[in-house]
């Protein structure tokens, strides 16, 4: 009996072609974006979104056109950090218009789409929803990349949730793995978790931009940023105190 690849007749569903069209849509939409940078960390609670938002504002103040895709679908915070109002999104053509926040930073976020206080929930069978939920979130991420009119941007920052799942999805969606900016706090616990994420990013071929050490001060002890910088031969781009001034972010923006 013939097997799958022996059957070469036309497939009206064209699922592979549909997937290909999705990829092309993303590539075409991002054609005007100079650089896609994933802000990530293997550790939760280190301030990725905070760093992402303020870095974007610093870049914007320096005259760069910047957007943020809030890829933390289950815990989106970027709109609040950018002071964005929850006005209805406009979708006048084949794309949704991103909203504009402080300093003119464009953004899209699941927060703008969810009812107040509601968790992200999908329609579908509840039993064993873990089987399909990851695929659904990856599709949402793909649509945020491909269905938003990003226009011409110097930098599109992707604010990733903790862990590696979203990064791996990104690598599958984008034609090239994104450049990675790593955020950590000084503690050895954070360092160990971030190390795993950096290794995974290297294995997938991402360029490592450097490390931002956040929450630097007497509250946390450790040398996570220096340890990771030495281990992976990447720069420490900024050390951010608990109460940073705009100069801190402008300095970081100058190094991106």
């Amino acid at each position: 009996m013939r097997t799958y690849h022996d059957l070469t007749g036309p497939d009206r569903s064209g699922l592979a072609q549909q997937i290909g069209a999705q990829r092309r849509r993303v590539a075409e939409r991002l054609a005007g974006v100079g650089r896609v940078i994933a802000v990530m960390s293997g550790k939760g609670g280190v301030g990725k979104s905070y760093v992402t938002a303020h870095l974007a504002r610093g870049l914007a103040r320096a005259g760069r056109a910047v957007g943020i895709l809030d890829a933390d679908l289950n815990g989106p915070t970027i709109p609040r950090l950018l002071g964005v109002s929850r006005a209805p999104l406009a979708a006048p053509g084949d794309a949704v218009q991103p909203v504009e926040g402080l300093d003119g930073v464009k953004c899209i976020s699941m927060d703008l789409l969810l009812a107040d206080g509601q968790p992200l929930a999908f329609k579908g069978p509840e039993a064993e929803s873990f089987v399909w939920r990851g695929a659904m979130e990856a599709s949402a991420l793909r649509e945020f990349l491909g269905d938003v009119a990003w226009g011409t941007l110097d930098v599109l920052l992707l604010d990733l949730p903790p862990g590696m799942q979203r990064y791996l999805e990104l690598c599958d969606i984008l034609s090239d793995p994104p450049v990675v900016l790593t955020v950590t706090i000084p503690t050895p616990e954070a360092r160990d978790a971030v190390r795993r994420a950096v290794r995974a990013a290297l294995e997938r071929g991402s360029q490592l931009l450097g490390i931002v050490e956040n929450m630097v001060g007497p509250q946390f002890s450790g040398t996570a940023a220096d340890d990771l910088a030495n281990e992976f031969d990447i720069p420490v781009l900024a050390r951010v105190s608990w109460h940073p001034t705009p100069d801190t972010w402008d300095g970081l923006a100058g190094r991106i």
């Binding site: 064209g14 699922l15 406009a90 979708a91 789409l113 999908f122 329609k123 089987v131 269905d147």
Partner: protein, 148 residues
């Protein structure tokens, strides 16, 4: 996924898709040689997996709408997340009969703009001046929009 008519050693061709509305999916395939028809029936979880990929069994009949999967599948979306899609008024923009407007109003806000645009595009492409419930039914059948 492909189907082989073992007796004829022929690849079966996709015939028809059905969404009964209970979360399952039915698709029929026909052998071009002997005419035998088989139905593929997927359970709700299998159907959901396909929907999660943002692809259409049987092929796309209308272009993908922006944030289509999000609009269709998010259960906790804001009613006012999207401004009603506005299309520039042109001479051949179809009007909506009161019955069709009423039916459209029953579509959840989260997807209404997208659904409206699909019907408008359908009518414009066919030179239909007024969208009525009958036009909506025909469009649903022709475009495979069983869920809309």
């Amino acid at each position: 996924m492909k189907f082989l008519c073992v007796e004829c050693d022929q690849q079966m061709a996709f015939e028809e898709r059905g969404l009964p509305g209970d979360g399952t999916l039915a698709a029929t395939f026909k052998c071009p040689a002997c005419g035998r028809v088989v139905a593929m029936l997927t359970n709700p979880m299998e159907t959901q997996l396909v929907a999660s990929l943002g692809v259409e069994i049987g092929g796309r009949t209308v272009p993908a709408q922006p944030l289509e999967t999000v609009r269709r599948m998010v259960a906790t979306g804001r009613d006012d997340a999207f401004a009603e899609d506005r299309q520039p008024a042109t001479g051949n923009t179809p009007s909506w009969s009161p019955d069709a407007q009423e039916r459209l109003a029953r579509v959840p806000n989260f997807v209404r703009g997208m659904v409206k645009r699909i019907y408008v595009d359908y009518a414009k492409e066919r030179g239909i001046a007024e969208i009525t419930p009958a036009v909506m039914d025909t469009a649903r059948a022709e475009l495979g929009l069983e869920g809309m």
